[in-house]
Symmetry: C2
Subunit: 349 residues, 2 copies
């Protein structure tokens, strides 16, 4: 019998946002890797690609021409996962097992820059700030549509994350229902708020700042950290220090410091394995259902797949799909490694 050592011994950690446990196996980081290696996209991209349907002036799938935009550019997804059509639906109460309901929604694509060859960490602060302003505008506009109750802003970066075009862009899926993960998060945020009259993330940020172990970057308004319960190896979360329900509540200063921390975090990510670091990222914030949501606290998740190098990723497969998420390296170690990365992008050196 030995005393529990969180840096060495297998253990479970609790995720209060999703109300679930994950498995941590620190000792397993030593395991040799004999499996699949990802291919690296190493080609240098042109500033403008005549075949890219996101570049300024080019033609899209539906025959439309993109404007010769200067900052960011938003359009409706030509292959949207949801449609705006109103549907007549008579619920069939006989269906215990075949429960279904139509879903109305709008999908948009947000081009981050006219430049085909840039990504967030390589852009100027002003350019990133203009993206944040687009997110604010879209959240407000889409959210004000009567049937839209949730606006999901996200980015899939890198072909390994299913992104089919390297032109820097993100997406927005706005819809009538609260998506599963968001609803689950809301339930937990709400029960914490009802009990403590403070937001869960407000208190969590305090606790993290006190230890400092998992903090990667901090500025006046935001903190970037590896959550105690992170499942992806270099998973991070950017949280506002102030209780901000939604992105449209940012002050001018916050809009700017958010752009700054976005750039800093993604620079560290790129520097980690000297590669354009793939991830899915996305914002969780108040739904747009017209109700008050004092429990919501603005945060942005980054779920990056890489584990050991630019070509070896973590597979969330068998046990993870059937049992629970599992990780081989501690969040504390990952935070430390990210903290140590330079603030200057490796391509600029």
């Amino acid at each position: 019998m030995k005393n529990f050592d969180i840096n060495e011994d297998p253990h479970r950690r609790f995720n209060p946002l999703l109300n679930e446990w994950i498995l941590v196996s620190p000792h397993r980081a030593k395991r040799p890797w004999q499996g699949q290696n990802e291919t690296l996209a190493t080609e240098t991209l042109p500033k403008h690609d005549p075949n890219c349907y996101l570049c300024p002036g080019n033609v899209r799938a539906n025959g439309e021409h993109n404007p010769t935009y200067k900052d960011s550019f938003v359009f409706e997804n030509d292959f949207a996962a949801m449609k705006q059509d109103e549907i007549i639906f008579e619920e069939d109460i006989k269906h215990t097992f075949f429960k279904t309901k139509p879903e109305q929604g709008i999908s948009k694509v947000v081009c981050f820059s006219p430049r085909h060859d840039l990504t967030l960490p390589e852009m100027e602060i002003e350019g990133i700030e203009s993206i944040v302003k687009v997110w604010q505008k879209e959240y407000a506009e889409l959210g004000s549509i009567k049937y839209i109750n949730h606006v999901q802003i996200f980015e899939n970066k890198g072909s390994i994350m299913g992104c089919s075009n390297p032109h820097p862009h993100g997406q927005i899926w706005a819809q009538s229902s609260l998506p599963t993960q968001v609803e689950r998060t809301q339930t937990n945020l709400k029960s914490y708020f009802d009990k403590n009259n403070r937001t869960l993330l407000q208190d969590y940020v305090q606790a993290e700042l006190k230890t400092g172990d998992r903090v990667v970057i901090e500025n006046d308004d935001f903190i970037a950290l590896v959550p105690f319960w992170a499942t992806w190896p270099y998973e991070t979360m950017i949280v506002s220090k102030r209780v901000v329900n939604k992105i449209t509540d940012f002050t001018e200063e916050e809009t700017n410091s958010f752009a700054v921390i976005l750039k800093q975090l993604t620079i560290k990510y790129d520097n980690l394995f000297s590669t354009s670091f793939p991830y899915s990222s996305g914002i969780h914030q108040s739904p747009t259902d017209g109700l008050e949501h004092p429990e919501w606290h603005f945060h942005m998740h980054f779920y990056p797949p890489l584990l050991r190098s630019a070509t070896v990723k973590k597979f969330m497969v068998g046990y993870e799909m059937l049992g629970e998420s599992q990780r081989d390296i501690t969040p504390e170690r990952c935070a430390e490694v990210l903290r140590q990365q330079s603030d200057i992008h490796y391509k600029q050196k």
Copy 2:
């Protein structure tokens, strides 16, 4: 305004096992694919590979020699995610956010065959039956250990699923806690059973047999179907017709018909894209916590990643990670396509 058409219109479906919704976008199947293509493992494998640590007689990472086994062979994972050590742990009640506890467990590897070049669909029924018997034995033995409350049997097949060795094998992770997904499933099975005095899957199988729309294969004892709420394109579930809590409750006939349906289903999978079809599969059944579990009903999940061809997979990324699982082709269509596949393996033709 038009009437809802489940084959055409975006909708959400409800998963009663996990108590969550998923998004279905049938019209989106027409979307062109310009993203990443997976590499195909096309090399023909030798019957015995001197460099494979799973082949009979070869040396493993820890220096041990594998026996010259004839059917299947089980050993403890040299890089286990959990350890058997008992750990002294004093819970720190001050930790609202840093909730953790040590986890005890055992990980085993199950080699399915001495042949390096075979997979389940290419094996004889007797060989598959012997694997099922190993699963029964391991479930019983591991489950009888005092601190083991759950035995997860699973297989990661194909390098795309993080499998690092093509030698046919699966794994067993046995541990003291109920993993997150299993606990969630148990909660829902139990509340259904408490209300109806029948298992949820017993009634679900009846409902599926009545429509037949999603049934892929049926024999006297088992049914293989694409669940109404499937998230992966060609996801399936094998369910026992009789209420069976756990694999050790199989009759002789059931052990045989389970081996038969396993072979038939995996043959159809391989034939679908004329490739060794990748997936993660695993069994959900009664925990081994020593309590009665009348709510549990034996089933095996298959989560395969391929979407359009042997090289184009479905990416569960951005929206799926932050919002909810999303699919582009209906479960009914996938069941139909699987049903139409030949029962003879394409390599045997």
